[in-house]
Symmetry: C2
Subunit: 340 residues, 2 copies
DNA sequence: GGTCAAGAATGCAACGTTGCAATCGTGGAT
DNA sequence: ATCCACGATTGCAACGTTGCATTCTTGACC
């Protein structure tokens, strides 16, 4: 079966403890002993048993990432960055998806899952953050959604300002009838609410009308939802010359619908997205979007979680990652090389 | 700290073993005892310690999925399906990415990683499958790449036939100068080799020339590589009226380059991809592609791995998942509703 | 009434590791 | 020569759980 410390110890003629000392780079081991033991370790292919180590140390060196859907490019990109970053620091990431189901979201965040992770980074969807905060027992970092102050750590970009900028960009292009796709009035989605708020603020500031009919709600935030919402907008009474979509996926769906209707982007309708996923950069036309600094989000979330694991009593933090408006063809039209 | 069986036992006035019996639905427990213990379990919020259970049982109920890059849509979609499927059967999936680095690929597949997983599904990239087979100690299922017979389980679609179909589709449209993007002569990439073989076979069968200059090698399989390869093709001496890309990402990159050059798809150049990622369905023009049955791939891989975990000595299996050619606008041009 | 079977509950030991403390040996300081 | 300090090595116990075997209880059956 599997090789244990005992097997190595027997073969090397030392105690189990000494093998452990070698395996863990404990300083007080004589050079020749270390060499001999290490040789046997390599020979037998010893690998520490994670379960035993974890049981003894009370640490798993693993964190969980709980997202609605891994296949969604934004989360996939974020997960990729996080995994890379965590690995550099000796941590492992356990990715879980909830498919947007409240039950699973609760289960995966209610304390370190079966204590097989030391902490969890979660992007909530179905369960209001405050509820997660109430039931959480272990270190938990919220992405996007914020909970009541004093409860959980939180990392996000400034959604309101970003959305204002996106909308102002459209206003600046001379668009007068600017729709929004991605509201979620039926869900407690704070992110959608903030993006809507930024959109409304910018319109108000520009003195533009903001009829309810120009705000399209969606159930989920994926391409089909964006396509359907755009179809509804085009069928509506208001003519639309610009759309601000709350995610790039929604925007890509909208682009598709516009193309199917023979409308030109940006000449007839300008489109702005949110997230800066790679698909948007390679779409035709390429997608103008709010580009959150995903590396920073991942870095801050990891920092935050690790710090909290080390010091569970620390005051909660509310961190803001940067973002910028990436202007591309879907608003300015100039066909150019892919923006890196 | 965390609640253990002992805590529950003390509070419920029973032995530790009995609490364990309740927690594990052991049949011979009196109804009233069960109720009482269960109440305390809920009260205290007891959750079994995964490490201890795993140490004792020798099973983690977790499988690993090792891929080059989670952010790559094909792998993200596959991972999503696999996680969902595994959860239905009570398994957890641990996703790891290698970033295409041989060292990490080896480490993550050399036996159950730190024995923290019971088996691994791997999509090899940098390390030849035969090498993985030689060094593996635990259950391992290969995706895509095949190892020498008699060594490892393997799940893939029929890459050669699929590539023939893709190429034949282009031939059937009357295209005469059909390029290929995605060869990887410098890597031991069996999948690329098979796709190239299918492409060549189809061309030969159609009596079309297949000059070397029409086969573009790439380092990786992502959008930028496809865009760069397409740029090289357009700069070459041969005129091209069709391109078969070995992944959808490459194809999306190629589409982008074609658009930048003002070339119409499919009128000037028809494009076929491979993988059927969601981006391709929503691209404009939507992407004709080989659509592997990803659900089946995930299901077969999981079946295969679980069976091997239960019976490590079973003969190795070589399973083939289905695929179909999804014809869309990038070859036929008709703008239509998104194909679900 | 006595025997037996099966249900219900329990104790002990072990999974492989590491924290702690103890032990042994050696060389330098006194 | 004696003592001390520190390096090197070790044994013991415990982390929380479950397999196995055992004990105790109850009810059925002859």
């Amino acid at each position: 079966m599997a090789v244990s410390l005992r097997d190595v110890a027997a073969r090397a003629g030392v105690s189990v403890r000494t093998v452990s000392n070698v395996a863990n780079d404990f300083p007080h081991v004589a050079p020749d002993t270390r060499l001999r033991v290490q040789t046997v370790i390599d020979e037998l292919g010893y690998r520490p048993n994670a379960a035993a180590r974890q049981l003894r140390r009370g640490r798993t060196e693993t964190i969980g990432l709980v997202v609605p859907d891994i296949a969604s490019p934004y989360f996939a990109e974020l997960a990729s960055l996080l995994v890379r970053l965590a690995e550099q620091r000796g941590w492992t990431v356990h990715i879980d998806q909830t498919d947007g189901e409240a039950q699973r979201e609760r289960r995966m965040t209610a304390g370190p899952v079966g204590r097989s992770v030391d902490g969890v980074i979660v992007s909530p969807w179905a369960v209001p953050p405050d509820e997660l905060a109430r039931h959480s027992v272990g270190p938990l970092v919220l992405l996007g959604e914020r909970a009541a102050p004093g409860s959980l750590d939180h990392v996000a970009i400034d959604n309101i300002t970003a959305s204002e900028q996106a909308t102002e960009h459209l206003v600046g292009l001379g668009r007068r009838s600017i729709a929004a796709i991605g509201a979620q009035p039926h869900l407690h989605n704070g992110t959608a609410r903030m993006r809507l708020e930024g959109y409304r603020t910018a319109l108000a500031r520009a003195g533009l009308p903001a009829p309810e009919a120009l705000v399209e709600p969606v159930d989920r935030l994926h391409r089909p939802d964006g396509a359907a919402a755009m179809t509804r907008l085009l069928a509506g009474r208001h003519s639309v010359d610009a759309v601000f979509c709350f995610t790039d996926e929604l925007a890509l769906g909208a682009l598709r619908t516009l193309a199917e209707h023979g409308l030109r982007v940006p000449e007839d309708v300008a489109v702005v997205g949110f997230d800066d996923i790679e698909d948007g950069r390679y779409a035709t036309p390429s997608l103008t979007t709010i580009s959150p600094d995903k590396s920073e989000v991942a870095r801050l979330a990891l920092d935050c979680l690790v710090r909290r694991i080390d010091d569970p009593g620390a005051p909660d933090r509310d961190l803001v990652a940067g973002h910028r408006l990436a202007v591309r063809e879907s608003t300015t039209g100039r066909v150019s090389r892919v923006d890196p």
